[in-house]
Structure formats: C-alpha cells, structure tokens
C-alpha cells in the first residue's frame, strides 16, 4: 500500500508541477528594438512561421531574401491556418516562440491585447514608405496608437466582372458597378442573355467567404456591423440601414434567380469556377478566385472594381498577413531586417505572381500596372480598405454558426430580413460580451 500511495503522490506532483510552473510564467521579455544596429547586419537563423494558406507568397519573399544576402538564413515553418492561433498560443506558453510571424491579420489583435507581441511603433515611424502602407491592414495590428505588426501581403475582396457579358448586355461597368442598385440592374441584364448565364455568383454556404465579400458593401456606406472599441464592443445590426440594403440586395438576386442554384450549397470548393467559365457576369472575390491560374482568354475578358455600397461609395476587405515579432524572439534584429526587405517595393510588386495584392500603394508602378493590370484596383484606393478589429472575428463571421452567416442565409434564402437582423443583434452582443469578459 505504501508504494501505491507513493506512486499516486508522484503522479499528482508530476501533474501539478507544470501547472505551478505556468503560474509564474508571465510575459516574455521584449527585444531591445532601440539597441544600436537593430535590424541591420543581423546574422544567424531567422525562424519564421507562415500560414499554410499564404505560404507561396511568403516563400517567394524568403527566396528573394536569401538571394539578396547570405548572413541570415530563414527557417520557414508553414502552420495550418486553422491551427495557427492554437499553435502560437502554445508556443508562447512554452516560452519557445519563433522570431517572426506572418499571420492572419484579423487574428493579431487577439495576441496584441495580451501583450505578447513586440511594440514596433518607433521602428515603424522610421520605416521608409510607412505612409503608403494599407491603413486598414495596419489598423488591425494597432492598439492605443501603438503598432505591433505590419502589413505583409494582402488578400483583398473586390468585384470582378466579365467584360464580354457586360458588353452583350449593354452594361457600362464604369457607371453601373458604382452602387448595389446599379449592380442589380447589371445582373438582371446579364441574366437575360440566356438560361445558363447568371448575373452574380457567391459561395453562399462558406461562412468565411460570405463575411469576406459581403461586408465591404456595408463598409462602403461608412458603417460597420460592430461598434465600439476593442474590449467594449457590441453589435450594430438592428437599425443598420446599409446592412439591411445589402441583405435585401442579395435576397432580390436570389429570389429573381440571378444567382446559380449551386450557390446555395457552395462551401467554396467551386468558388469562382462559374465566373472563369464565362457563365457569370459579376463575382465578388479575391485574386485567387478570378485570376490565378487562368489563361489569357479568361483574364482578357475580366474587369475589376471595388465593392460598392448600396447607393455609392466603395470598399474592400483588407485580408492577408501581417508580420509580428513575438516577445521572446531570439533573433528579433534579423526579423526586423526581413520585415523591411519584405516591404520594399521590389518585393511587394511581385506578390500578384503568388496570388496576392501588395500592401503599399506605391507598388503600382508603370511596370506593375502593365504586368498585373487586374491587381491595381485596391492599390488605387487603398484608404477604402477595412476589416473589423475585434476579439471575436472568427466567432462572429467564420464559424458555421456565426451570427453574420446565419443572418445572411436566413435573410437571403428564407427572405426573413427583419427576423434575421433581430436575431443577429442579440447573438452579436452575446458573443462579444463573452469574449470581452
């Protein structure tokens, strides 16, 4: 019996020890970014985590960085997008963090409020071209006017149109696509071209895509679905006339058969395929959905503009990756050197080759415009880019049971716009209240 007691005591001790160890962990030390020579002439290995979703874009910049110098070797670790937050949180708790993070920009605020990223404000103030950076994407990593992360590559939602179908339908995209009302008329005109030709397409059973491509219509009217500062936010659904107009616009398109039936169940697996096949007039989507991997025949008949508001204005979703240096980084100097390199116009102007938009407006040089004419629109109005800064983005928009997604489907497919908005208001408030406790 004695040995049994000893065994149990040992097991208990072994279990509690890490718990106690974690209790005293505290935050990791921040690198000394004010040290002389910080971010210049660094050496050694730079451990960089990249999202698997954007790995191709990151890898291209890493290759260029290696070609430009031989002091720093970047050790790139792709992390599955859905596991990034969990793995990073675990690494921070284990006090074994990488030197640099290329992470989903909407997730950065989760870590910033916990004070686990390095404050880059002073470094950013000295960064050449800082004022050219996407303000929407930069804002996602800014808290109380302190900057904790920099835009790296952009995954923006825009409105693609088929120029041939527009011509045949007698629609002038430059005037028609400046409001949702105009888009609706354009979609109706395209639909009349034939039984298999549709005005608009949407991966309507993919929560993430719905949030990505439909919210900018509301933002274009200078309003959001969330109100308040991080930590004290609530939903702004009920009484939101712009949001109502967006929901009604999509409801009308569905009810009038302007969208393909397959949209109802499309989880994103065939997102954009109908547009690239030439059977759809308008597609809200990213560069990947409409342009990447398409041949000249498709890209030459493709046009692009920003997503319009109900009666005017425009916006786009500033998705993509931001670069952050976690506290505890062993080679923060190399991390900052890489960051500066990644933001140079030369690197930024090559991003569309991997399927992404640059994050600085001056990347749109004449050569760039000639090479990537379909990747210019967001750069020309980079100030209209936005994404909500909230601790609950995934819960509010990306989950299958997210209130925005549930509201959208109920309003569009069931036609219950009022009920959908009332229900969403309550759920927004509940989700935000729980996250901000």
């Amino acid at each position: 019996m004695r040995s049994r007691r000893e065994f149990l005591a040992l097991a208990g001790l072994a279990g509690v020890t890490p718990l106690l160890a974690s209790c005293g962990s505290g935050v990791l030390p921040a690198p000394d970014t004010a040290a002389p020579g910080f971010g210049e002439g660094a050496t050694g290995v730079l451990r960089l985590w990249a999202r698997s979703d954007t790995q191709t874009g990151t890898q291209a910049v890493v290759d260029a960085f290696h070609a430009s110098q031989d002091r720093i070797r970047v050790e790139l670790t792709p992390v599955l997008g859905t596991q990034y937050v969990t793995k990073l949180a675990t690494a921070i708790r284990a006090r074994a963090v990488p030197d640099l993070l290329a992470m989903n920009d909407i997730d950065t605020i989760l870590f910033i409020v916990r004070d686990v990223f390095t404050d880059l404000t002073e470094l950013v103030a000295q960064l050449p071209g800082r004022e050219r950076l996407s303000p929407g994407q930069l804002d996602l990593s800014t808290l109380d006017e302190r900057v904790y992360g920099l835009p790296f590559l952009a995954d923006n939602s825009v409105l693609w149109h088929n120029t041939e179908l527009m011509d045949r339908a007698g629609v002038d995209p430059s005037t028609a696509l400046t409001s949702l009302e105009g888009c609706l008329d354009a979609a109706r005109a395209v639909r009349e071209l034939g039984a298999d030709t549709y005005g608009w397409s949407l991966a309507a059973n993919a929560s993430g895509i719905i949030g990505f491509v439909t919210q900018p219509h509301t933002w274009a009217a200078d309003t959001d679905v969330i109100t308040g500062e991080v930590g004290s936010q609530r939903g702004a659904v009920e009484g939101n006339q712009a949001l109502r107009a967006v929901l009604e616009h999509h409801r009308t398109m569905w009810a009038e058969g302007l969208m393909p039936q397959a949209n109802f169940s499309d989880t994103g697996t065939s997102w954009g395929s109908d547009f690239t096949a030439g059977t759809v007039g308008l597609l809200p989507g990213n560069y990947f959905a409409a342009v990447m991997g398409q041949d000249e025949a498709v890209t030459s008949r493709t046009g692009v503009s920003l997503l319009p508001g109900p009666t005017g204005g425009s916006a786009f979703f500033t998705g993509g990756d931001n670069l952050c240096i976690p506290r505890g980084a062993q080679n923060a100097s190399a991390a900052w050197e890489f960051t500066k390199f990644a933001l140079e116009v030369e690197q930024q102007s090559k991003l569309p080759a991997g399927g992404y938009f640059p994050v600085r407006s001056d990347a749109a040089t004449d050569e760039y415009r000639a090479t990537y004419p379909l990747a210019v629109a967001p750069l020309e109005q980079i100030d209209t880019g936005y994404a909500p800064r909230t601790l609950s983005y995934n819960l509010l928009y990306n989950q299958p049971d997210s209130p925005y997604f549930e509201m959208f489907r109920r309003a569009v497919f069931d036609g219950d716009v009022d009920g959908a908005m009332a229900s969403a208001q309550a759920r927004y408030d509940r989700v935000l209240e729980q996250a901000q406790r």
């Binding site: 509690v16 718990l19 989760l110 059973n205 039936q261 819960l395 049971d401 729980q434």
Partner: protein
Amino acid sequence: MSAATPRTGAGSTAGTRGSSRYGTITHRSSTGLLLVLPALAFIVVFVMVPFVFAIGISFTNWPLVGAFRFIGLENFAAIPGDTAFWKAVGYTLLYTAIVTGPILLVGYLMAVVVRANRRGSTVLRTLFFLPYVIGLSTLSFLLVLEAQPGSGAVNLLLQGLGITDGQTAWFTSGPLATALISLLVVWGVSGLTMVLLLAGMQAVPREVHESAEVDGATWWQRERSITLPMLRRPIAMSLILSVIGSFLAFSQFFILTQGGPGTDTTPVVLAIYNRAFVQLQVGSATALSLVLVLVVALVTAAQFWLLREKD
C-alpha cells in the same frame, strides 16, 4: 480454425502453474514489473499527468493566450445553464441512438456471411473490414466530394435511380447531414464489429450446431438459441466500443459539416473543441471534458452491468 487454438492451450497453461517452477515465476514478478515499466511510464506521462493537469485547468479561466487565474468551481457551475453544451449532448445522444443498432446489425450480418470457411470468405472479410482500415477521416474527405450537388457520386446515384434530381445539398440541412454521416459511419465502422463477433462465432463448437441441426432446428433457431447466447460477451464489447465511439465522434463532423448548419450537427466533442480553440476558453472546455469523461465512464459501467454474464 485459429479461434480453437487458445482453448486447447488453456489446459497447458494451468499445468504450468501447478508445476515445480511456480517459485521461479514468483521470482520473475520483478522482471515482469520491469517489463511493464515502459508502458506504465507512458501511461503516467501521457495519460495521468495530463489528466491531473486538466483537473487543475478546469478550476481556472485559462484563456488560450495570456495569463489565467483560479476561479474555483465557476466553470462547473456554469455547465447546467450552458445551452450550447446541452444541445450538443442531445445531438450526441440522438446520433448514438441512430448508429448503434445498425452498426451491430450490419456487423453481425457481415460476420454471418464470412464466418464459414467458404471460397471467397477471406476476400469478403478484407472487403468488409477495409473501410475501417481506411478510417473515418479519409472517408469523410472522400464524402466531401461525393456529396457535392450535381457532381458527387451520391447525388448521381440517387439521380440515376430516379429518387432525387441529383442536386441535394446534404450538408445545408441538419437532418440530411445527420442521415448521410450516419450511413458513412455505419459503413465505416461495422467492419470492427464484424471482426469482434466473428471471433466469438468461430469459438462456438461446430458439434453444437451439428447436433441441433440433426434435431431439426432451423437456421434461425440455431442462430437465436445457440450463437446469440454464446456471443453475449463479444456483443457487449461491440456495443460498448460503438457507444464510446459515438459519444466521442468528432472527425466526421469536423470535416463534413463543422457542426453546421448553425449548430445542428455539433456533437459534444466538437462543442468542446470549439469552446477551447474558437472561443479560446480552455478552462471552460476542460471542465466540459471532465464531465464528458465522467458520463462516458458511467455509461460504460452501466453497459457492463446490463450486459454482464448472468449465472
């Protein structure tokens, strides 16, 4: 054939125990302890320590990121009013009720088909067991494609049979998604039940069946009065494994529906996963996990008691 071997071997084992080498075996108990020590260490490090750690976490507000504080029994006190959790529990019970019977029935029927050493039995056994070897995760990824409206094999088959128009969006409806996932699971895991029951069936002495046949018993009478009673233990084991598997169902729902539409197909493990890694409330999720462990233990104990051998 192989099932008969252990029975003949049982006598010799008893003989060894009674031999003069009994003292040697006692001496070897320390050797035995040494031999199991690696496994024991494995269990302590990877099961017991995390379990104790989990109990500790359940008394905190442990967020995925940042500092935590002890909050006593708050996480447990919140469980009775946790509507999302109880909805998931309800769905898990429904799902368990739907799949348990068919898994046993299909597994039993497959075992009946392949138990005789007829030509082709081995091939059939392999074919029946193959889905289990492939695994539910892989099967689920295949179903993602095969359930696509208009292009998936499931829809094309139903269209070909004239049952649907081939455009069914299976995962946009809770009942449809549950039905399809249940079919997938029954197909995917019945092979294990077949193997468990097959071993039991082959242990039934052929003479018993033969004498019953001579006495004029029909196939069904022999099955009901001889085979089934002698399969009590394997059936109990199959049911327990099946129910535990259903209570802990995760991958097929995570891959196919993500718990949607809404939370209509969210089983309890997925609800706990979401609590930890989407809502970032690891303390609350751990408390829910401990409740689940307790529930599974109680259900398993109840099954053992209900299906125990009665003298």
